[in-house]
Amino acid sequence: MSKKMKIMILSGLVIFLLPALTFAQGKNPIIIGNPNTFSGVMSMYGEGTAVGLEVAIEEINSRGGVLGRPLKLIKRDDRLNPEVGVREVKDLILNEKADFIIGVLSSGVALAVSEYCKSAKKILIIMAARSTKITEEKGHRYVFRYCSNFSARDSAVLEVASKIWPKNETDKVCQLNLDYEQGKNAYDDTMAKWKKINPDMKLVSALWPPLGTTDWAPYISKLMASEGNLLIHSLYGGAWLAFAKQAIPMGLYKKFHVVASCAADLETTNVLTKDSPVPQGIVTIAEWPYWALKNPEASRLAERFMKKSGKNYASPHAYGGYLAVYSLKEAIEAVKAVDTEKIINYLEGKKIETTMGSMLLRKCDHQLLWPVYAGQLGFMEGITWPVVKEPHRPQNIEATYNSCEEIEKLRKK
């Protein structure tokens, strides 16, 4: 082998060994890893989550940190891809020595990352992924959720629907859900729950548009031709917007009472104005209705988040992230160490004080029992975009989530 070749191979070896020579970072900061989505279709939700974490960390660090140590946030882009997500979380935990992982938008990435955090024995706090599987069937000791899940959302909107519309106007049900896991779960869940509320109900039509559908006219025509009077759908974001824009002139909202468990997220609605076609009167959720809570702390935080993100709305994910960081702070200070096992023991079963009352961090599934406010979409004084005007707080918050017995059964299967 020529001398040049040998030199080349040797230099290659050295270059690859260089990373090993980087010394471990100073033990001082407590590191929070934030796998988030900054690219692709869901990236607008990613910004919101990061803002909450940043604000909380700034506040805490300005007051001396936790146990004298500053908090440090490392953000990573998972590109909505489980492969990249797991790789980034591995890097955060193994190389960056992250103590906690807070984040993850998509349920698919969440499930993959959750598996890894379980084996790595690091706390993962989910802030926006809502599939119930994450904390139920596939739940485990190390995963927590600081936002509502789909089941709670379904219960909340159906509760409001049953209160404001008479049963005989909501007994012929049409379902419209995207043809993937989120849609299928929404269908199963809402059908079971509505049957309990309105036993005379029957399913008239169930439509399954594929992911990425933008042309809603055929679906709307089919719905209009049916004899349904209640439409339950789980569309969100851009898909919901395109659907609503096409459905309004075709008269869908005159024919149907509409229940939408995921629509009207702030990231999408904030671009609408009074002149835009908006489906007013649909029943949807408001994850953190700071505009109607009449809670000064909520308003203050919303202002902070808006200022930090430069947007005209404050994302509920930001609030979830904010709460998560403060919970960890409280736990670390209580057990006087950054000790994962002790922190988990401390947090389980704890009541967290929030601007929406006190929330129980349930032991059986580590789900923060987040109250899902729901109500009808409309315009309010002082806000240019449509919001849930009179958000209704569920009477029994724990009842909107699946019970611990049901979860035990699911896990045993």
Binding site: F38, S39, G40, V41, S43, M44, G46, E47, D179, L207, W208, P209, P210, G212, T214, D215, A217, P218, Y219, S221, K222, M224, A225, G237, G238, A239, L241, A242, K245, Q246, P249, M250, G251, E267, T268, N270, V271, L272, D275, S276, P277
Partner: protein, 299 residues
Amino acid sequence: MNLQLAFMQLLNGLGSGMIIFLVAVGLSIIFGTLKVLNLAHAAFYMLGAYLCYWVSHTVLSNISGNFWITLLLAPIITAIFGGALERLIIRRIYGLNIMYQFILTFGISLVIADSVKFLWGREVKNMAIPYPFDGSIFVMGANLLKYQLFLYIMGVSIYIGLLLLLHKTKLGKLIRAVTHNQEMASALGINVPSVYTGIFMLGSWLAGIAGIVAAPVTSITLGMDHVVLIQCFVVVVIGGMGSLSGAFLGSIIMGLINSFGIIFLPELALVFAFLLMAIILIIRPFGLMGESEEAKEKF
């Protein structure tokens, strides 16, 4: 399923077919003449949609009828951009192994997509359905979006316009000559590189138009190019690469599959499209209306 619903789905399917046609025809033309598989085509479509939003919300925001002005002006931007791209980059890969074309245009689509993210951010953009096509009309007892009428008009006009261009004008003759036999055309004194640039610009212009036309009835969001690209490919294969009428027919078929599929076999609609693509490639690779002599040379 009753007749009224079937008729509505027919009308809906034709409408969505028209949008697909507007995107696919540019791809087909570019492939037919330049023999380049332009994966960045859908990115131009996305660019067109974002430009539509931007121009009508900022530059022309207080002018009524801004959508129509945008429709006239914005595709020129995509055309110019396409021309520049062709001159600087695309012309260097003519005749190369198809893999290079695939991966190069893929790279270009990444650059365009991220540039869109950089320029306009991540949030969904909203483009209202423009007057006078907002609202609906009552047809056979059901509501049809008025905008569908606009889609029919656009789709058919572009189709007829392109047919006339190709078969009745001198420019069309040049294009057909260059497509048929590039060496001979060059030997006859035709400035082939310029014709190539022109064709790429035409394709980009069409993609821009498609984006603007689609903007009011679709979600203007990052990643909107991916779905469209796959649909384009299927259409162009079914109709025949390089065939204008093939693209028109293929798009209508695609639109009708989408609108009728939801009634009969919703889950299978997507698989069906790819199966159809595979079947056509196996049985009749030059598509329903492609030119078989060309294909004979190919395989």
